[in-house]
Symmetry: C2
Subunit: 441 residues, 2 copies
């Protein structure tokens, strides 16, 4: 008899979709986890003879995919979900969202909102999110409590808030946060300057200095609306992306969010600098900004991930929804039904997001040696039967409602649709309490 | 003490969204059902003193909405869900869908496929669907078994199939079906000529004759692709809609499906004739046809309902998905965030669909005297909390996964997410068996 290796966890599933290599679907395989890491992926029959396990989870009718990476969120804004919809963008911001934030923003607001967002995201198969908001340490705490992975934004904006008084204050608080949490395995960081229109050149230069010194990505809204482009042309005589290029900000550490309005030469610029894009299709439609030229970006080799944006402008922190919408819009806008096929959409919501965050050596695909961030999707129900093509089914038929189990670093966080790490009823109680306060205004 | 009226069923919910009048949300009301009809809707406190009930269902945290009306489906095609995705339209049809249909089409295929579709639709809050497919009597049987409402299509196409040999055969079989089921309370009928490009003028005229004699709507695909318009210009020297106008087909009995490619004068034509449109946003995107000009159609007073289309071109028979997408696309395409507000999207998926089918005197809204086709949506979970605006939450945040209870004609068909009328495990078993056969090819 051969020597058998002992592992912590064995998961058997009808299908494993590793994402890397693309197109691949492994049938009736087992995934072995040891100390939070994927140790092996092999046929179930082989697994029987080669491994001993402490725990085994059998998931017939399920597919395993990598944990989804939400490349752009404002988690705490889940407390503003549906607070003001169907309004013109500037009315929405000036008369509703900003006044509510001004009045209610606090560490407690961000902590409660982020935990509620983590609950929604985790149950929907999101294991990692790239966040930008005030009081980011409260969001990091929420992610740690949830057992999720977070890329915490060191937010910078030229306007004061309850969190910080000025750009130097934002930077100082953000860097302090980074120092406090830097040894947490599941926490990484980005510089998160809000947008070119809300930050001066001088402060953007400071952001770049910190990003270089700390070797961190820069996470920034870019070319979301026509207005911001017009404003930039008036104030700086150049479009926002050109302004960032002149400042020297574009490069492989750059994560631009939205990128809806791009000239062809701007797509080339992003490609030639190795920039990453966070595509947020629901938010771009809902706020009437349009559709990002994702097919053109992907064709020119730009690494495009997918984000939900915040709940105030999307209302669902649901990457299954976004990846399906990304694929459908690519086809509808290009006139090519074969544009952005299912496997590419799934890759955008996993490996591409991980790559943008500089985490693709650790997460984003189910490969030996990577962290065991794993989502089980139940394809056995009426919504997903019959099943001819697993990847197609995951993207076009399944939804987050089919997510049954979620592991992060090999730790089970969602079991049979129930979140094990957060107290759902307490969080819902808090959500209702915040609603009562905010609805008074 | 006042005289108390006895009713069959009392449903208490935190919110009732009647759809008519628009915007209205009734808080803490009760809905009374007697003999399948809505007898009263009134504050819960008043209900206590005025009514006795045989059964009471209490739904705290839930909203009641009218059953959703799917204005365009090919239910049986659920057996082809994901059979061939990400392919150019003509490759998809000619090399995959049509050969599969030719090989496998039968009464049994349509019956199994339709029951599976009914299971998916009913659990997702759809209580009525307007279907077009071969062997429509098998789909009617499926709907009756499910306890749903169906508008059965008397399908006509110039090509032979396993169902009928020629247009006269299709018409004869369809009219026989109509005679057989005409006394079924939950069954109505449409003439369902497939499309202008697949039927000659002579046969379209026969369809019109039958529609006039039987007083039925005409349900037809129209202006879905550029190709069909070019073909019509070549063959008939006019665009398809103009051809139908010349034949005299346009009028308030006309339900055009898709209507993606419309000139301004064609929108006027549809409006001035009182035509109805079935908007299928997912299908139009997925097959790369584009986005229908729904905002322009609605602004000119055209009655636009929403359809899922068949599972081969959408992969989800999910009207929550479609109504959200309809609203988001309207904003994104028009550049106006206030275009197609939530209440209008909900109306499209309910009352507008009912009106197109000539059923708006009986269904489509929660009003006294209408049939009790009711859907309960649980807004108490993490995806839908906090809740500031119930209609917004239903459209932008909720999904079919939040549908907990469904009644049709006052009969409970879905209870706590479980379908009471169909044998789910049997249908899933059948779906897998069909898959094994079809995947062999």
């Amino acid at each position: 008899m051969r020597n058998q290796t002992a592992v912590d966890l064995r998961i058997d599933a009808d299908w494993i979709v590793p994402v890397q290599p693309a197109h691949k679907v492994l049938e009736h395989h087992s995934l072995m986890v040891s100390q939070g890491v994927i140790l092996d992926i092999l046929p179930q029959a082989e697994a029987d003879s080669r491994y001993l396990f402490r725990e085994r989870v059998r998931l017939p009718g399920h597919a395993l995919i990598p944990g989804l990476v939400n490349l752009h969120s404002h988690a705490a804004m889940t407390l503003l979900k549906g607070y003001a919809d169907d309004l013109p963008l500037m009315t929405w911001l000036n008369e509703h969202i900003w006044p509510a934030e001004k009045r209610w923003m606090s560490h407690g607001f961000v902590h409660d909102g982020s935990r509620l967002a983590c609950l929604e995201m985790l149950k929907g198969g999101i294991t990692c999110f790239n966040d930008m908001y005030f009081f980011p340490e409260a969001t990091v705490d929420a992610a740690l409590e949830a057992g999720m992975r977070v890329a915490a934004g060191i937010i910078v904006i030229d306007f004061p808030s309850a969190y910080a008084a000025d750009p130097d204050g934002y930077l100082q608080k953000g860097v302090d946060m980074r120092d406090r949490y830097r040894h947490e395995d599941r926490v990484s960081f980005c510089l998160a300057p809000h947008a070119p229109y809300s930050i001066s050149d001088r402060n953007l230069e400071k952001v770049m200095t910190y990003a270089a010194q700390l070797d961190l990505p820069i996470h920034i809204h870019i070319h979301e609306t026509h207005d911001e482009i017009h404003q930039s042309l008036e104030a700086y005589k150049v479009r926002p992306l050109e302004r960032l290029r002149l400042l020297g900000m574009l490069g492989p550490q750059f994560i631009g969010v939205h990128a809806v309005h791009l000239l062809n030469e701007e797509i080339d610029l992003l490609a030639s600098h190795g920039c990453h894009i966070a595509h947020c299709p629901s938010s771009n439609l809902k706020l009437a900004n349009g559709v990002a030229p994702k097919t053109a970006m992907l064709e020119r080799g730009i690494n495009v991930g997918i984000g939900t944006d915040g709940s105030a402008s999307n209302n669902r922190l649901d990457l299954f929804e976004e990846l399906r919408l990304a694929a459908l819009l690519a086809k509808g806008m290009s006139g090519r039904a074969d544009a952005l096929p299912a496997h590419q959409a799934l890759r955008m919501a996993t490996l591409n997001g991980a790559r943008a965050l500089g985490l693709d050596d650790r997460i984003g695909s189910l490969e030996i040696g990577k962290q065991a961030d794993i989502v089980a999707v139940d394809l056995g129900g009426a919504n997903t039967q019959p099943c001819y093509d697993v990847i197609s089914q995951l993207v076009y038929a399944a939804s987050r409602a089919e997510v049954s189990h979620v592991w992060v670093n090999g730790v089970l966080r969602v079991e049979q649709h129930r979140c094990l790490s957060l107290d759902e009823s307490d969080l819902l109680h808090r959500a209702r309490a915040w609603r009562d306060k905010l609805a008074e205004d």
